[in-house]
Symmetry: C2
Subunit: 310 residues, 2 copies
């Protein structure tokens, strides 16, 4: 018996759903995963997930009570607890996730948010944003997400959909985006977007294009000038848009997370350069820190989801 | 004797400084003003202001206590209480306004913020944003300011300087801005910016340009097609940038305030059209309301400053 606080963190991804018990210090135990895409319907998925969650609860019974279940999922809405047609899940339907889970896990406080906002909560509770009240996490994965914290609270917006920084238009009439518009930031600066840039540059130089963003990072580490140029062009677009977002919220730090953040200074140096060139003078005295997530290679999504509860 | 709460609201402008007693229902009494520009130094100005404030306090003595002094001033920083080189005041120096006032008004809680943030507080306490937790006030005056509220709190940012929406770059390499960069939103969509647009359109049509934004509004009301075109072009720029800001904070309402907001639907209709064309689909189901300030022709700045205290 101890008197630590506990929560269950659940990270729902397109392929795997991972979950674990998390204590208030960010220690993870009883980690498990199931294949999201092995379930034909959301109902079957929730049934399967809740069986596992119940078994964690049962095993933990003797210890201090679990405060609740926090769930991070693509396109999930904090206010409604609903996932409405995520492109990254096997089922493209309206899923009232929070209510479905709460109905089975009777008496458990259940909270849902999207993955980028969960990451921001995770950084604030367990990561590099400890003690910060105004910061932004940018997730550079297949798309670009953001979790923005102001006055110590996540900005959800009136409809729970704030923080779609990946869909700020970076280049009018630019690359086609999955959202139906053109030139969104994520068509340039996500792990997917940078590959398009890479392909253009490599083909123009009659070279075989890189196939993953990790390959570009590896090449940059070897001093490959083409890889450097790819990061320069990407950082230029990303830095400029981050300067615009900074003008709205003036955060203390911008924290980079996700696949493309593995490129570290290869991406961050040109991004910061473009950011500072675009920045309004009033912000130059107390410029934000550019940081890499402290949870980048940990179970950030599970930690962040659990932080929803704490 | 009554048990209402009271505060003193102070609105510091370049020409006049206005102040009054405000009760929690937004009733104003003992309104006075002094000429800001009649004082040679900030010290003399604060001495003069505090003499008047003290006399309001003395006269009010018999009634329920005054909770504090709220001050709205151009470029004022909420966190530090400092005005640092405002272009809109007679003295271009570093002015630790909050501390200077607090030193003379001993025992009075003194709070300072900039005019756009005071306007947002005023709308939330007394105006069209009553009951809203996520909204934005855009002030369209000589420049463009914004006061953004998220989770029921003003977004100040880590340095107190958030919300400089007027300095988001609307057109790369566009019109020169007072901030030293080019193409800022306020060079197009402020009361000053629209006159530049008007001049271009009128001269191209060999007509005498309008001299004030009110003249453009008056002409539009008479059905003048040139005036309509000026508002269309202005709304196009403003609407597009507001859609980008919406993507960050997803407010329930965007509230327009200040000189150019007097143009009402002549500006708002084309702005909303451009806004919706640029808006990400996820926001289209619960679009924000476009509203005109309820305090537009009242003492909004005094009310907003007093709301800082409540």
């Amino acid at each position: 018996m101890n008197d630590k606080k506990y929560a269950i963190g659940v990270d729902i991804g397109g392929t795997y759903t991972k979950f674990a018990l998390v204590d208030e210090d960010g220690n993870i135990s009883r980690e498990q995963r199931i294949r999201t895409d092995s379930f034909a319907t959301p109902e079957e998925f929730v049934n399967g997930l809740c069986l596992h969650l119940q078994s964690i609860l049962d095993q933990h019974k003797a210890r201090s009570p679990i405060r609740g279940i926090g769930i991070g999922a693509p396109s999930a809405n904090y206010h409604t607890g609903v996932i409405n047609g995520s492109a990254n899940l096997p089922w493209r339907t309206f899923i009232p996730l929070r209510d479905m889970v709460a109905a089975q896990m009777v008496g458990m406080h259940t909270v849902v948010t999207n993955d980028a906002k969960a990451a921001a909560l995770g950084e604030m509770q367990f990561g590099v944003a400890k003690g910060m009240k105004d910061f932004m996490v940018i997730t550079l994965g297949t798309g670009i997400g953001s979790g923005i914290v102001s006055n110590g609270q996540i900005i959800y917006g009136h409809d729970g959909m704030a923080g779609e920084v990946g869909h700020i238009i970076a280049k009018p009439n630019g690359r086609p985006c999955g959202c139906g518009r053109k030139g969104c930031l994520e068509t340039y600066a996500s792990a997917t977007g940078i590959l398009v840039t890479a392909q253009k540059i490599m083909l123009a130089n009659k070279l075989t294009p890189f196939e993953t963003s990790q390959e570009i990072t590896d090449a940059a580490m070897m001093g490959n000038p083409m890889a450097m140029e790819i990061f320069n062009q990407t950082g230029k677009v990303l830095g400029k848009i981050l300067a615009h977002v900074h003008t709205v919220i003036s955060p203390e730090a911008i924290i980079f997370f996700g696949g493309l953040a593995n490129a570290r200074e290869y991406l961050l140096v040109p991004t910061q350069k473009a950011f500072e060139e675009e920045l309004l003078f009033v912000y130059k005295e107390r410029k934000p820190q550019f940081l890499i997530s402290a949870l980048q290679h940990k179970n950030a999504a599970i930690l962040g989801a659990a932080a929803l509860v704490f």
